[in-house]
Amino acid sequence: MICVRVIILSFCSMSYQLLTARALAELTNLHILSYSLSFGFFLLGMGLGGIYYGKSLNNESPLRNFFYAENILAILGGLATFFIFCLFIFMNIYMFSDRHLYLTKPTLPYMFLLPAQLLIFSIGFFSGFELPVWLKINKEKTNTTIFRGTGALLGASYIGGFLGSIFTTIFIVPLFGLVTGCILMGFINVLILIESLISYRNFNIKKGLLLFIPIIILYIGGTWDKKLTQLHLKTWYLKTEMTSLKKTKKLFTLLKDYGEVLRIRTSYQNIDIIPSDFLKGQRLPHLTLYGKGMAFYLNRQPQFFSKFWRTYHESMTVGGVHLSGKEPEQVLILGGGDGLLVSQIIRFFKKIKTITLVEIDPIMIETANNYIPLRHLNQSALKNKKVNIIIDDAFTYVAKDKKTYDAIFIDFPFPISFDLSRLYSIEFYIRVKALLAQNGFIVLDAPMWKYIDNEALNIKPMPQDILYSTLNHAGYKNIIAFGQGEPFLFLQTKGKKNNFTDQKIKYPVSKETIENLKIIDNIVKDVEIKDEYINSVFKPVRFKY
């Protein structure tokens, strides 16, 4: 029975750590740093907790120590992600109001990450008490001078940690989310504590009353999950900024004038949809929400806005075909699970035979097919018989596919994390090149800086330096940057530098698209192509935004 308790307790501790790390990763987009730091602080806390227990508390009653340690752990661990979201909302409102600064100054996320590590350290510290306590209880129970069963308890602890990592990642996060998932673990911790006290006949009224503290706190935390998520999303998307704590109440009142942001959590990303009827009453002062209409975000990065989506997708499809001078028959789309790109390809190009769309996230496809406002925009294009949808990681798919395509459209979110940076790597571009038919072309949604001033010129490498260096080394000799407001790169392995002024655009595109379809040499004229700027999966280069 002791082994079972140790497995469950270790399971809970690992879950706290992983859920907290995941919350930090989602909020900062610094996945590797968040996971590594959290694991490091957790281990440090565990080690020091074990040592502290061994040196200072070893002579005290183990059940008494266990009672207090688990009470604190249930509150700290159970509310860990709750605290982290609260901290982020606070910093978001009062400290990170200039979002551009937050993204370009690399030191700012650390201001958020480091205080959060204190919490993880504390969770580790009290988790570190668990194994020595149970070793001692086991020793007292077996009434031996040596620690019999040490190996079994140690093994149980490791197995609990392992199961915690599997279940947290695969079940707890998708089923319960980060805040409720953590609170659930807190309740399990309290249950084990109650069970242990009853089993060892150590339960009394005082302890029973004290146990109400974590139970009530966790319950209140649980009821706040949805409100907290909405508060976080609204303050983020509405770019609320406050200079004084006194105005906080007014802010919360104003936020009630807004509807709810629809959040869909998938295994790969958070899809946030701001519905078109989001603003219900008075508009927040200094609010800039890209105009009215639906807005679509992936991991809080803008994906499209109903006001501008047509310009973007028309430019990408028509612009590419115009520069190549030939309508494609076989098309490959990497990304673009919202179906908008497919809808424009079907609309403009009548010679199309097949469109293969590769999307990693099946829920994205489901949303595109079933979320009515989005389905209205994409005209149910993903259900067209010419469209072949493949659910796979684009990076892996391009290594497996043996077909060739006349046109490849690459529509990924910007490389704000390593997972996305892989899709802008030399290894990826070399593999994509192998799928290109003769005289085929690629259009890439280019994550480039649109405005380059003197200050920007001093920051090296700029995203365009990385892209051009990587593409050049991957073997693309004809690279054309186009799109004044929405920049794209047109890529061919050979061919001449066409222009939009060579002939009139023959497709029925909007006036905004015509205006957007211009060659943009100004932002790539100072591009530096260097070996050290090649983005490889084995040696990534940081994209700065």
Binding site: M14, S36, G40, K55, F162, D419, R431, F538, P540, R542
Partner: protein, 222 residues
């Protein structure tokens, strides 16, 4: 062995182990497309293997052989650090058409190996100290070593490149293997020197190996 030396060794052993774990989690994330998945599962698998390693260590009764055992473990770990990245690329290529769970299990093999070997390391090292309170210090040095790795990997090693990182950590491992060995073990010291020299050469010619890695990655061994 002096107390300070054991603490020093404990710190660096833990440092290297966690660096390897993070390094391989990172390499796996390239092939499975999710850093969150590879890091979360990597931590769990590593901890389980650490536990299995320490249980295995219980079967080693003759403590006088501990330095020798540690030497072989360090040697194996350093070879994993130098060549494990290439092995992982080959594994990823060979399993590209496998079902995802099977592919994932195979890709985690190096982390299991590292966890097992690292799990054996610490009890062996603690076995060299008789006094119980000194064992706590060894444990403390171990925790701080892992903490240092968790700090340095994302902030420094990640940007240095995954293969140079493997080589640097392997060189630290080899230095420890050298420290552990008693005097007059010339053959073993020569082996350490040869592997170290080969690792240094790989580091110096890392940019030249870039193309080889690309070919291995893009074409596979077939």
């Amino acid at each position: 062995m002096a107390k300070r030396q054991i603490l020093f060794i404990s710190f660096f052993l833990a440092f290297c182990s966690l660096c390897y774990e993070l390094l391989f989690s990172q390499i796996i994330s390239i092939f499975i497309g999710s850093t969150i998945l590879s890091y979360s599962l990597g931590i769990g698998v590593f901890i389980l293997a650490l536990g299995a390693g320490s249980v295995i260590c219980d079967y080693f009764s003759d403590k006088s052989k501990n330095p020798n055992r540690l030497f072989y473990i360090e040697l194996t770990l350093s070879l994993l650090g130098i060549l494990g990245g290439y092995a992982e690329i080959i594994l990823a290529q060979l399993t590209i058409f496998f079902p995802f769970p099977l592919r994932l299990s195979i890709l985690f093999t190096p982390i299991i190996a590292i966890g097992l070997l690292s799990g054996i390391e610490l009890p062996l090292l603690m076995g060299l100290k008789e006094k119980t309170h000194e064992k706590f210090y060894v444990l403390g040095a171990d925790c701080i070593g892992m903490f240092a790795a968790a700090l340095l990997f994302p902030l420094f090693f990640f940007w240095l490149g995954l293969f140079p990182t493997g080589i640097i950590v392997a060189l630290i491992n080899l230095t420890i293997a050298h420290k552990i060995l008693p005097k007059k073990t010339y053959i073993k010291k020569t082996i350490i020197f040869c592997i170290g020299a080969a690792a240094l050469l790989l580091w110096v010619f890392d940019s030249q190996l870039f193309l080889l890695r690309q070919n291995l990655f893009l074409e596979g061994i077939l």
